[in-house]
Structures are given as structure tokens and as C-alpha cells.
């Protein structure tokens, strides 16, 4: 029912995501709601998240693409721009959203955020502070969490 009026853009985006997936990213729509995507992002190499498989959920609101998709981490992750509920601090999901962006570009941006945490614009104060005062130790914690929660089980 919810899928009957699916805009052509969403259908096309979905098809392209499935036929030409971006490296390290998979996104597939839920069977009963084509606006709800199950997403998996592999932890980028050379990052504390390497080797981890991170689950996210992505939802396309009614106004999409005029409004940004809603994205959230389901897997616990130790990252200064992601809070304990999995919410992500990323400009293109908020004021820098443009309808010319796509699901693919959003997920690539999230992947890039894992490679380059930005403790100067934090969502989680404690983790950001940790990152700034003792980066080595913070990276260790992130690795530990990756092993504990994102080991692909």
C-alpha cells in the first residue's frame, strides 16, 4: 500500500543501489515498506572500525528528496559524531541537504565520516573529549567496541 505511489526517483535509486552497489556499502529496501532501507557499512580500512560490519537504518520521508533521508546506526559504535542512540552529526543530513544528493551519496559520506572522525563538531561530548585529550586511547576504545559489537555476528 505504502509502495503504490512510490516516486520514480526512489524506484530508480533503489534499482541502481542494488545493481551497482558502492564498495563496502549495501542498502536494500524492506519488503513491506520501500521507503525503509536496511543498510550495512563495512568499517573502512586504516580506521579504528576496520573489520567491523555496521548496521544502519535509513528512511525516506514523504518529502524526500526535498527533505533529507533519516539515517541512524543500529550497531553500537564509539565515534565522536555519533551518539549512543546511533544518531549521526553530518551536515548533509541537516542544513546542507540538497535534493540533488542521493541515498548513495549520503551513505558514502557516512563511510567517510568513519574514516575521519571530527571531534571539533561533536555529537557526543564525552567521546569527543576523549578523542581530543588522548586520541590513541580513544582509538583503542573504538577498536574494542568494533570487536565487541560489530564483528559481523
Amino acid at each position: 500500500m505504502a509502495n503504490s505511489n512510490l516516486p520514480r526517483r526512489i524506484i530508480k535509486e533503489t534499482q541502481r543501489l542494488l545493481s551497482e552497489p558502492a564498495p563496502g556499502i549495501s542498502a536494500s529496501p524492506s519488503e513491506d515498506n520501500m521507503r525503509y532501507f536496511n543498510v550495512m557499512i563495512l568499517g573502512p580500512t586504516q580506521s579504528p572500525y576496520e573489520g567491523g560490519v555496521f548496521k544502519l537504518e535509513l528512511f525516506l520521508p514523504e518529502e524526500y528528496p526535498m527533505a533529507a533521508p533519516k539515517v541512524r546506526f543500529l550497531t553500537k559504535i564509539y565515534h565522536p559524531n555519533i551518539d549512543k542512540l546511533g544518531r549521526i552529526c553530518l551536515d548533509i543530513l541537516k542544513d546542507k541537504w540538497s535534493p540533488a544528493l542521493q541515498i548513495r551519496t549520503v551513505l558514502l559520506s557516512i563511510q567517510a565520516l568513519l574514516s575521519a572522525p571530527n571531534p571539533d563538531d561533536p555529537l557526543s561530548d564525552n567521546i569527543a573529549k576523549h578523542w581530543k585529550t588522548n586520541e590513541a586511547e580513544a582509538v583503542e576504545t573504538a577498536k574494542e567496541w568494533t570487536r565487541l559489537y560489530a564483528s559481523g555476528a
Binding site: 520514480r8 526517483r9 530508480k12 526535498m66 546542507k96 540538497s98 535534493p99 540533488a100
Partner: protein
């Protein structure tokens, strides 16, 4: 108040009135302007003689919707002409630089390329690889359309009409940020101007955009502000660095351009901000302290004050006349009885020889809340008194002037003195109100300043009470009473006009002194106080007030550095040739 003394004063002042207005025409014009009532009844000739000069010396301009639009258009035209760019671009540029024409010029001629980059003006399209294609794919909905159904900003990134419409609508609904709209392509910063909005957006969105553009001209512009009165749509353009911030909107609201609180001259914005904060913090305590009624000091029946002046008469059989502020007998307040109008005073320090009332007040002073209450109550009472006076003024202008005109066979132009009196009352209540905020923050240890301030405030206040009483109660007799003679009415005219002038002078002195930070206090302030006390002492019963103690000291000073006005007894500095209060020649 009908005493011979008063009538005598009033007559004399009236005779001086011409002299006064000749001497200080600028001042009095300024004063009139501040009241802010556009006198719709005044005829055209009046307008040209009295109102135009005000406009020229005024340091602000009231802008209507049409005025704002016109100025905006003029600025856009100027930038467009000087920089040889389209009007739409000029508008975007001006908005970016907060509608400051000279800033736009400076930035543009300093580094045109940088400015173009920052605001998103492209010299040529960045996306023109599709010149020979008949169909294009929209970057938002991914549909293909013929070229003529696609739109692009200067950059050339094509999107279909319906996606553009959605993009623009979303941006406009998000607020004034739509004035800085850019191409939807995230890698592109090309500006999207009003020309595209007008081609693509819905009628409703176009109007919203227009509204934001107009608002931006006022809100982003450093020298204009909206009038803060509810529902008022005028803006005020202010000449920066011109001093006095008091402005009067065409809606008649009087406010401070700097802090947008209601007008509070001569008290500064900082004091007003502190006072307002204080009031909001204390308001819960105040609510019950200042319940709407007070018991009659004599018969204890509760009394609600619903008239403007502080002179309350309890209903029969009690008929006790008292002052609403201090609840003391009114007979202690008039000048004839030799008392002094002490309700502006608040003394925490113990003073010798003060009459009984002081004992009660000292009790009050023990508590800082009570000290605050003292000032707040007077501040608030003058506020409500002013509101009442405004209503009375309106009632006067709409109904009673007509009646009086018929009854005493006077043309309404001859009744202007009544309107002037009420305008004076309204303005004085406003000033008096703020002097209580001033008084609250005036340091306790500055004794000389406090005394001088309270003296000036007291003089002004008692003058105002006389004026208010006369305008309110005595005038009512003429409105109601069928038997009054035209002769009596003419006497009343003289009295009211005289009181208006005297009160204006008192308040001008008060305002001037506060604006100088009471800096005169060392030279002539102390003397004027003692001199005045002396004169009062002469008329009063000996020892009835503390003026007795000061008189001998005061008279010594008088002879050498000051002269006492024969007419009003004000102590003027020696160099003055006319009296600072009543303008009587030496």
C-alpha cells in the same frame, strides 16, 4: 486647588508664555514631536508651519510598507547601475552585505572575483555539455524532459519545473534563508534569484518570498528596526550616532530605538534593562504586595484606584482625602499647608527632625524587597496613570472637545490647550515613571545627588499632580455643569495652560539633570534645594518640615553665587539672566 495662589501663578505664567515659546521654540517643538500624536484635525496650513520643521531636525524617519519598498528599489537600482549588473543580482548582493550600499561598493571594487564567488554569481555556465541534446534528465526526480521544460540557474545545472518548484517551496517554508537560495547541485554555489522564483514558484510562495525580501531590508539593515508595538507595520530608520534614541512611530508608540523598550529618556538603556529584569524576577512577590486595592487610611474600606491622579477622596460618609502613594492625608501634600510632597522620597538613613511618617518608612527600609517595592509601586502607578491619561486624552479628543466647543461657543482650535495639557500629562507620567527606576539604582551613598534628584523629582511630581488634577477633575466640572459661565471657562483656560507650562519646565529641568548624570549637584544643585526650602519655609508653619534647618545656610550662599527668582523662588546661577524654571527675567 482653586486657591488664589494657584490662579495667580497660572495667570503670570500665561503672560510669560509667548516669551517662553519664542525663546525656546526648538525645545518645545522637540517636546511636542515626542508625544507622537498625529493630530488629524490640524489643518494643512498648520501642518506646513509646525510639522515640517520637526521632520527636518528629527534624527529618524518612519517608514511605511510603501516607503520601505521604495527605498529598497532605489538601493537596488543604484547598485545595479553602478556595478552594471542585473537588478536581481544587485538585490542578492545587497542582501549579502546587509543592504549597506557603501559596503557593497567597497567589497566589489576591492575584489570583484571574490565577491562573485562568495555570493554565487557565475560569469558563464559550468554545465553546458548538453547543448545539442533534445532531452535532459532532471537531477532530482531522474525523469527525462525536453529542454524547454527544464530550468537552470546561471550555472546551467538542469532540473525540471516541478522539482524546482518543490525545491523553492521547501526553502521558502524554511524561512528567510530562501533569500540566499543556491542551485540544488551540491557542488554548485550558483545563486538563485527572484527572477527564477517569479517564473517557477506558486503565487503564495512568490508573496512569501517578497515578504521575506522586504523584511530583510528592515531586519538585516543595521539602521532600521520594526516598531515593536503589537500589530504595527511601520519601521523606523535611524540616523546612527545622532544621540537621543527616543522615537515615536506613526502608530503613536513611543520607544527607544536602541533597546526597543518603550521610551525611557532620561534613563539609560542599561538601567532600564536591569529594572525590567528585576521586575520579572520579583513579579511574583509584587503580585500580592501590589494587589489592586488599598484600604482607606481612615475608614479602612478597600479602595480601587481607577482615576489618574494620586489625590483620592474616599466615598461618603468618610470623604477622607489622601495620597494614594503614601496614604497620608492630602492636606499634608499641598503647598498651601506648608507640607512638601514627599512621596518620591525614600530614606533608609535616619534623619533628624523628620515628621512622623518617616518612622513608618524607616521600618519599611529594613527589607530590601520593601525598598524595591517602594520604587516599583511608584513606577507601576505612574505607568497605569499614564495609560489612563492616554484613554482620557482619546476620550477628550473624540467626545468632550466637541461638547465643550458647543457649550462655551469656542472653536475647537481654541481648545487646543486642553489637548496640550493631556499630552503633557502623558509625557510627564512616562518620564516620572522612569525616574523611579533611576532612583532605585542611584547609589545610596551619593547623598548630595540623591537629595538633588529627589528634590527635582519632587518638584516635578507635585507640579504634575496639580496639572493632572486640574485637567481631570476641574475640567470635568465644565463638561458636566450646565451653569458654568464662559468667563469661568476662560479663567480655567488660563490656569490649565499655565500649569502645563510650569509642569513642562519642571520636567525639562529633571530630564536635563538626569541626562547630565546630576553633575550640577556640587555647584548649584545644593543651593537651589536650600533656596527653595527657604522660600517654602517662609510660607509654611515653622518646623513643619526639615526645610527650617537648611534655610540659614542656604541664604548665605544665595547672595554670592545665586539669585532667587522673584516669581518662582528658584535659585539660579549668577550668570543666568532668566529663571531656569519659569523663564522670568531677573
Amino acid at each position: 486647588m482653586d486657591s488664589e495662589d494657584d490662579m495667580h501663578d497660572a495667570n503670570d505664567i500665561e503672560s510669560l508664555d509667548d516669551f517662553y515659546s519664542g525663546e525656546t521654540a526648538m525645545d518645545s517643538d522637540d517636546g511636542d514631536e515626542n508625544y507622537g500624536f498625529i493630530d488629524n484635525d490640524s489643518d494643512a496650513s498648520d501642518d506646513s508651519t509646525s510639522h515640517r520643521p520637526h521632520r527636518q531636525q528629527q534624527n529618524y524617519t518612519i517608514l511605511s510598507d510603501a516607503d520601505i519598498r521604495q527605498r529598497q528599489e532605489e538601493d537596488i537600482t543604484m547598485i545595479s547601475t553602478v556595478l552594471s549588473i542585473p537588478r536581481v543580482s544587485a538585490s542578492i548582493l545587497l542582501r549579502h552585505y546587509n543592504w549597506d550600499v557603501s559596503k557593497v561598493h567597497d567589497a566589489w571594487f576591492a575584489d570583484e572575483d571574490r565577491v562573485r564567488r562568495v555570493v554565487g554569481f557565475l560569469e558563464k555556465p559550468v554545465h553546458d555539455a548538453t547543448r545539442n541534446v533534445t532531452e535532459l534528465t532532471c537531477g532530482i526526480c531522474f525523469e527525462s524532459y525536453p529542454r524547454d521544460r527544464m530550468h537552470a540557474a546561471a550555472c546551467g545545472h538542469p532540473f525540471c519545473t516541478s522539482c524546482w518548484r518543490g525545491y523553492i517551496a521547501t526553502s521558502i517554508n524554511d524561512g528567510p534563508g530562501c533569500l540566499m537560495l543556491r542551485c540544488p547541485d551540491p557542488s554548485c554555489g550558483a545563486a538563485v534569484g527572484q527572477d527564477m522564483i517569479n517564473v517557477i514558484a506558486s503565487e503564495e510562495d512568490k508573496q512569501k518570498y517578497c515578504r521575506y525580501l522586504l523584511r530583510s531590508y528592515v531586519e538585516d539593515n543595521k539602521k532600521t528596526k520594526w516598531c515593536p508595538a503589537p500589530g504595527c507595520e511601520y519601521a523606523v530608520d535611524y540616523v546612527m550616532g545622532s544621540g537621543n534614541y527616543d522615537v515615536t512611530c506613526n502608530c503613536s508608540y513611543n520607544f527607544c530605538w536602541n533597546c526597543t523598550e518603550e521610551a525611557h529618556r532620561p534613563v539609560d538603556c542599561g538601567t532600564v534593562a536591569m529594572w525590567i529584569l528585576k521586575n520579572s524576577a520579583e513579579s511574583e512577590n509584587m503580585n500580592w504586595i501590589l494587589a489592586n486595592s488599598k484600604p482607606c487610611p481612615k475608614c479602612k474600606r478597600p479602595i480601587e484606584k481607577n482615576q489618574g491622579c494620586m489625590h483620592i477622596t474616599c466615598t461618603p460618609p468618610c470623604k477622607f482625602e489622601f495620597c494614594w502613594l503614601c496614604l497620608g492625608a492630602w492636606s499634608d501634600h499641598g503647598e498651601r499647608t506648608g507640607g512638601f510632597y514627599a512621596c518620591n522620597r525614600y530614606e533608609t538613613a535616619k534623619q533628624e527632625g523628620v515628621y512622623d511618617e518617616a518612622e513608618r518608612r524607616r521600618e519599611m527600609a529594613k527589607n530590601s524587597l520593601e525598598r524595591y517595592t517602594h520604587y516599583y509601586e511608584r513606577w507601576a502607578t505612574n505607568q497605569s496613570s499614564r495609560q489612563k491619561a492616554l484613554q482620557d486624552l482619546q476620550q477628550m479628543q473624540t467626545v468632550q472637545l466637541g461638547k465643550l466647543s458647543d457649550k462655551y461657543m469656542q472653536p475647537e482650535s481654541q481648545l487646543k490647550f486642553i489637548t496640550e495639557a493631556w499630552l503633557q500629562i502623558v509625557e510627564c507620567r512616562r518620564v516620572l515613571k522612569w525616574t523611579y527606576a533611576y532612583g532605585y539604582y542611584l547609589p545610596e551613598h551619593e547623598h548630595a545627588k540623591r537629595q538633588f534628584f529627589e528634590y527635582l523629582q519632587g518638584e516635578a511630581e507635585s507640579g504634575l499632580e496639580r496639572l493632572h488634577q486640574c485637567a481631570e477633575k476641574e475640567l470635568q466640572c465644565f463638561v458636566d455643569d450646565e451653569g458654568s459661565q464662559t468667563k469661568d471657562f476662560n479663567e480655567f483656560r488660563t490656569k490649565l495652560a499655565g500649569l502645563t507650562t510650569v509642569t513642562r519646565n519642571y520636567f525639562e529641568n529633571l530630564v536635563r539633570a538626569l541626562e547630565n548624570g546630576l553633575s550640577d549637584v556640587d555647584s548649584h544643585g545644593a543651593c537651589s534645594r536650600t533656596a527653595s526650602s527657604k522660600s517654602r519655609g517662609g510660607r509654611s508653619k515653622p518646623g513643619s518640615s526639615r526645610s527650617g534647618g537648611g534655610s540659614s545656610r542656604g541664604s548665605g550662599l544665595d547672595g554670592s553665587t545665586h539669585w532667587s527668582c522673584e516669581h518662582c523662588t528658584y535659585a539660579n546661577v549668577k550668570s543666568a539672566t532668566t529663571c531656569g524654571i519659569c523663564h522670568h527675567h531677573r
